[in-house]
């Protein structure tokens, strides 16, 4: 029961990465490697702010802002200096590896004795659950799950609303067809900047929440996150088929949770955890290649 609840909570925390990758990769066709760096950055900045006694909410927001700035940097390298998308992300992530180490001061920091945002959620939500008859441990875990559901729901609604405003719609149009957006007066460079900021803020928020949930921040914790996000996006899309924006956002979050459940099942069935990242990469590769075999030639894009 506890493991199942915690798998859900973890899957939802990582759903924010998936939503970030949905924005950068699906809406802006930008395979954003910065995701790896900004996930760890979010965790590191949040952890450092927590350990110096900043309010957990502000500390989490601080991590988010740092992630947004990382996304801005990648977008600037691409839009202003003409660096290729992948390379821009690689450069920023490589630089962030140093930044994270310097900010944290060492390779990992425990948060077990620090009051975190999840502790606060537990303190607020667990007592009524206990009164409803749950055991203290289950109530605590359920409280954190409810908190995470709320965060992801807010993120989905906020993204849905934003991307249906004039600005958000223009951004989606620019991510889809840049010539069209420029011909209609939109600065596509500026839009990529905004898009990657949003995406990496979400990723960094995820990093901050994961660090608080698992009780430590580690400079290595971002490795493979962009692939994780893509796997969740693809899995979500496979679960629901072609849908509009709102459906796709919900599917992406569902994809993350489903993927986390699959991983838990695979581990329980005896998969060596060392192979986890490779397995994730294989899932993404399969998702990228499979459509070619199913719809050979019928919808070949000829750009």
């Amino acid at each position: 029961m506890i493991t199942l609840l915690s798998t859900w909570t973890f899957g939802l925390a990582l759903a924010l990465v998936a939503l970030g990758v949905f924005v950068s990769y699906r809406l802006f066709s930008f395979p954003d490697i910065t995701t790896d760096g900004s996930f760890a950055l979010g965790a590191v900045v949040t952890a450092v702010l927590l350990t110096v006694g900043i309010d957990p909410l502000l500390a989490t927001l601080g991590g988010m802002v740092a992630g947004g700035l990382a996304g801005c940097t990648t977008a600037l390298l691409h839009a202003s200096l003409g660096i290729e998308r992948l390379l821009a992300g690689i450069l920023v992530t490589t630089a962030l590896a140093s930044v994270n180490l310097v900010v944290l001061g060492r390779s990992n920091v425990p948060l077990s004795t620090t009051h975190t945002l999840l502790d606060r959620a537990e303190a607020t939500l667990a007592p009524p659950l206990e009164q409803a008859g749950l055991s203290a441990v289950v109530a605590g875990e359920a409280a954190q799950l409810i908190f995470m559901i709320a965060i992801v729901a807010v993120a989905i609604v906020a993204l849905w609303v934003f991307f249906r405003t004039q600005l958000g719609t223009a951004m989606r149009a620019g991510g889809d067809t840049a010539t069209m957006a420029r011909a209609l007066g939109r600065d596509t460079g500026g839009m990529t900047l905004a898009g990657l900021s949003i995406a990496n803020s979400l990723t960094a928020l995820s990093g901050g929440l994961v660090a608080q949930y698992q009780g430590f921040a580690d400079v290595q914790m971002g490795i493979g996150m962009v692939v994780w996000g893509m796997a969740s996006v693809f899995l979500g899309a496979a679960l629901v088929g072609p849908v509009r924006l709102g459906g796709a956002l919900v599917a992406t979050a569902a994809g993350s949770v489903t993927f986390r459940l699959l991983v838990a099942a695979a581990l329980r069935a005896g998969l060596d955890p060392d192979w986890l990242k490779a397995a994730t990469a294989v899932v993404v590769l399969t998702a990228l290649v499979a459509p070619r075999f199913f719809s050979r030639g019928s919808h070949a894009r000829t750009h």
Binding site: F162, R164, T165, Q166, L167, G168, T169, A170, R172, A173, G174, D176, T177, T179, M180, A181, R182, A183, L184, G185, R186, D187, T188
Partner: protein
């Protein structure tokens, strides 16, 4: 009113000579004129259009449109004054967005895109009305991804988008070249109608001599980066597609002569 003065655009081909794609062209389009531009492949007609749209930088010369000096405006800044339709239907619309969402983006062309809802009821009603006036039935597809429309339908929606807010100049870059003849015909009818109804200033590049003869009140023939024929009024009205084909042949013969002459010279002196 568009005023292009002494425009020069040159490209250096690697290891080759510098090609003057637009070679000192000056052109004035009074407001309300509908100009058709033709020319052989590589004549520089697309570069000329690009230099007005802002996708190609002028090496020399200046550009004024509707009282604004826009020589140094960027492509997306010029969009405040200019509406465009491309050759590739996919270039002018965002395939994954619905027809209405595409129109919503066009409805803020050159405006600040704010945090207001993009697809309100007012926009929906106006979009339905405007589409139905041009292609009855299209208004029922407002909520479908625009990628599900045929190429011809997409070009008509692009045309409606480009002229949603009245542009000071409408640029049409071989916008029927990728379509089958029937669809091209429908798009041309829609084009003609929108230009006349709104009294637009328009510059249309075409590969079709029939279109060139039938449409517009002025015709430019571009060759080697220069305007070699500029007719309007009664002369333009009398011009037929056959006349234009003759002109093209004459130009091609002239080119062949030049090439042969150049080869003879090269053989004699190298």
């Amino acid at each position: 009113m568009l005023e292009l003065t002494d425009a020069l655009v040159s490209f250096a081909s690697p290891g080759g000579p510098v090609v003057r794609a637009v070679d000192g062209v000056s052109l004035t389009l009074p407001a309300g004129s509908f100009v058709v531009v033709i020319g052989t492949n590589g004549s520089g007609k697309s570069t000329l259009l690009g230099s007005i749209a802002g996708t190609v930088r002028l090496d020399r010369g200046s550009l004024r449109l509707a009282g604004h000096e826009i020589t140094h405006w960027r492509e997306y800044e010029r969009a405040r004054l200019v509406g465009r339709v491309f050759q590739d239907p996919r270039a002018g619309t965002a395939a994954s967005l619905t027809v209405l969402e595409n129109i919503a983006v066009a409805a803020c062309r050159g405006q600040r895109a704010g945090l207001r809802w993009a697809t309100g009821r007012q926009l929906r009603e106006e979009a339905a009305q405007r589409l139905a006036a041009i292609v009855p039935g299209l208004e029922t597809r407002l909520d479908q991804p625009i990628g599900s429309l045929s190429g011809g339908q997409r070009q008509i929606v692009t045309l409606v988008m480009a002229t949603w807010r009245r542009p000071e100049l409408l640029l049409l870059d071989e916008h029927t070249a990728a379509l089958d003849p029937a669809a091209a015909d429908r798009v041309i009818q829609a084009t003609s109608r929108i230009i006349h109804e709104q009294g637009l200033t328009a510059l249309m590049v075409t590969h079709s001599l029939n279109q060139a003869a039938a449409l517009g009140d002025r015709l430019l023939l571009i060759h080697r980066g220069r305007i070699v024929l500029d007719v309007q009024g009664a002369v333009k009205r009398r011009l037929t597609a056959e006349d234009l084909a003759d002109r093209f042949d004459a130009l091609r013969r002239g080119d062949q002569l030049d090439d042969t002459a150049a080869r003879t010279l090269a053989e004699a002196y190298v």
